[in-house]
């Protein structure tokens, strides 16, 4: 598989405050993204995700390090023509309507007139904003802005798309819509670089992730390598069973009413719990095996530091 994005030893610091004190934000980031994958860039607030993306796109200049996109230097037109970018909390010229806005941006790609109109129409359809084509962006909701931002990122049919917190601040429906678009991009063979601090999103759509904490990448790899699939414990909710008898089988975190939430660590004990429920004519309401999640991994790593 071809490498689409390669970052080597990226360093960036900001000069802050009155005395222009130097603050290191990125301390030697290295990562590579392969063609066709959805790459998750994961880290807590302030870890340096946005800073990395800004370096890649030439909005800020790193002090040290090398970035290549499709084998070209990241600031070359060849690289930029193949990439798309949706910033976090996107904000656009609010005096323009949705279609005026896309029209303006398409001129920056020197698109031909017919191709342009065709593209704008299909993008507005893709992000489900056909009805708002003539609405000024100032009247757009958060979710609509995110979607029009997605549309502008896709104007040039990029092979590599950078999405900075694309699901931030959206309601469940909005998140699903954006997630569907990302899945679609993946099906079309595009490569997606996605930053987020929300683990569920990344877990659901990413093939590979890198975890950044405090300006350093501390783990990188395929999702199933980072997370073991072994069952950590099983959560059982049941009622009508004597609590004392259950205590020997697992940890009781009693719930409300007569319902009991039980955390069972050994697999053979799960069997016993079920037998006990049957014999004492109780009821099992739910039984959920919990495997390690990205969240556990994440919390573990962040705690270690």
């Amino acid at each position: 598989m071809a490498t689409v994005l390669k970052i080597e030893n990226l360093h960036k610091s900001f000069k802050l405050g009155f005395l222009l004190k130097k603050k290191e934000i990125l301390r030697g980031i290295s990562l590579s993204v392969e063609q066709g994958e959805v790459f998750g860039y994961l880290g807590p607030n302030g870890a340096g995700k946005t800073t990395t993306i800004k370096c890649i796109l030439g909005l800020i200049f790193p002090e040290k390090g090398n970035i290549e996109i499709f084998g070209h230097p990241h600031l070359s037109s060849k690289a930029k023509e193949k990439t798309g970018f949706l910033p976090e909390n996107p904000y656009f010229y609010d005096h323009l309507t949705a279609s005026e806005f896309l029209d303006y941006y398409s001129q920056l790609f020197l698109m031909k007139k017919e191709a342009k109109e065709e593209k704008i129409k299909s993008l507005l359809r893709l992000v489900d904003l056909e009805d708002s084509a003539d609405l000024q962006l100032r009247k757009f909701s958060r979710g609509m802005l995110q979607r029009i931002g997605m549309a502008q990122a896709l104007l040039n049919d990029p092979s590599l798309v950078f999405l900075d917190e694309p699901l931030g601040g959206l309601d469940p429906l909005g998140r699903k819509e954006i997630r569907d678009i990302i899945t679609r991009l993946k099906d079309e063979g595009k490569t997606v670089f996605l930053s987020s601090h929300i683990l569920q999103d990344i877990e659901m759509i990413c093939n590979r992730v890198a975890i950044i904490v405090n300006g350093e990448i501390i783990n990188q790899g395929a999702l199933h390598d980072l997370i073991s699939e072994k069952i950590l414990f099983t959560e059982v909710i049941l009622s009508g069973v004597n609590e004392k008898e259950l205590k020997e089988l697992g940890e009781c975190l009693s719930g409300h009413g007569d319902r009991i939430l039980l955390k069972v660590f050994k697999e053979e004990n799960v069997e016993k719990v079920l037998q006990l429920a049957q014999s004492s004519k109780g009821k099992v309401h739910s039984l959920i095996p919990r495997t390690e999640t990205l969240e556990d991994l994440f919390v573990g790593i962040v705690k270690q530091r």
């Binding site: 900001f14 800004k54 796109l57 030439g58 909005l59 800020i60 200049f61 037109s77 930029k80 023509e81 990439t83 970018f85 910033p87 909390n89 996107p90 904000y91 656009f92 010229y93 005096h95 323009l96 303006y104 941006y105 001129q107 920056l108 790609f109 020197l110 931002g149 502008q152 990122a153 040039n156």
Partner: protein, 254 residues
């Protein structure tokens, strides 16, 4: 092409700015006020109307250039609209030139509107359209281009308020360059004199674009003088734009 796209968007944004119309309104008030002033003074009424009118054009044109020009780049960075532009295949100098031409286009149209009011007022007094006024106005336009480039330069690294103050100082000092000249003669040799000399050579002489008196008084102006002023304007503007680009190219957008 890309510059054109940015210029037109800048134009579209600028003409939706309310401050533009406020200034246009005050310019109109000033031009018409010159009529009142003419009534109160002895001497050639038409000359006073022309004098005050042309001065208003220059002043309000400069205010428009400064108040809009200083916000141009700052706003794009502040509101982060620049992120998605710079990440497209476009050079930073193209962005800056687009902004420049967009504002120049806006000022051109505003100057046209003000000139119309001015020429109409003159027409009511002389019953002729005095086309030679347009020469004076053309040079005001050259001056506005230069001021736009200066405002843009400041807005590349400073906030709108500071940039406005700097640009306004540039405008005022530029029109009183002769003051610095006399200052040089008066102060004794030393650091102060060197500084004044430096300022005198570095700051532009905006009086080069001032043909108001000559044209109002119907004085003859040799064509070399016109040519000199035109070249002066073009080269100074280019010079300032190049510095602006050099600064803008290295900037971090954080």
């Amino acid at each position: 092409m890309k510059i054109k796209a940015i210029a037109f968007n800048t134009f579209r944004e600028a003409i939706r700015d309310r401050i533009l119309y406020l200034l246009l309104f005050f310019a109109a008030v000033c031009i018409i006020f010159s009529r009142l002033l003419a009534l109160l003074t002895v001497g050639d009424k038409v000359k006073i109307i022309k004098d005050v009118g042309l001065s208003s054009l220059s002043l309000f044109g400069a205010l428009m250039a400064i108040l809009i020009g200083t916000g141009l780049v700052f706003k794009e960075i502040d509101k982060k609209t620049i992120y998605t532009i710079i990440s497209k295949p476009i050079h930073r100098y193209q962005f800056l030139l687009g902004k420049f031409f967009g504002l120049v286009l806006t000022l051109f149209i505003m100057l046209l509107l003000m000139s119309f009011i001015f020429l109409a007022l003159v027409f009511f007094h002389t019953f002729t359209i005095e086309w030679e006024m347009l020469i004076a106005i053309l040079f005001i336009f050259f001056e506005l281009c230069l001021i736009t480039s200066v405002a843009l330069l400041f807005s590349c690294f400073s906030t709108p308020i500071l940039s406005s103050i700097f640009s306004l100082a540039f405008y005022l000092i530029g029109h009183t360059a002769w003051g610095i000249e006399t200052l040089i003669k008066k102060i004794p040799p030393g650091a102060g004199k060197t500084l004044a000399r430096f300022l005198y050579h570095f700051l532009p002489d905006l009086e080069n674009f001032n043909f108001k008196t000559e044209i109002v008084q119907h004085l003859d102006i040799p064509s070399e003088v016109y040519l000199y002023s035109i070249l002066y304007g073009i080269f100074y503007t280019l010079f300032v734009l190049i510095i602006a680009v050099l600064i803008f190219r290295k900037r971090d957008f954080i």
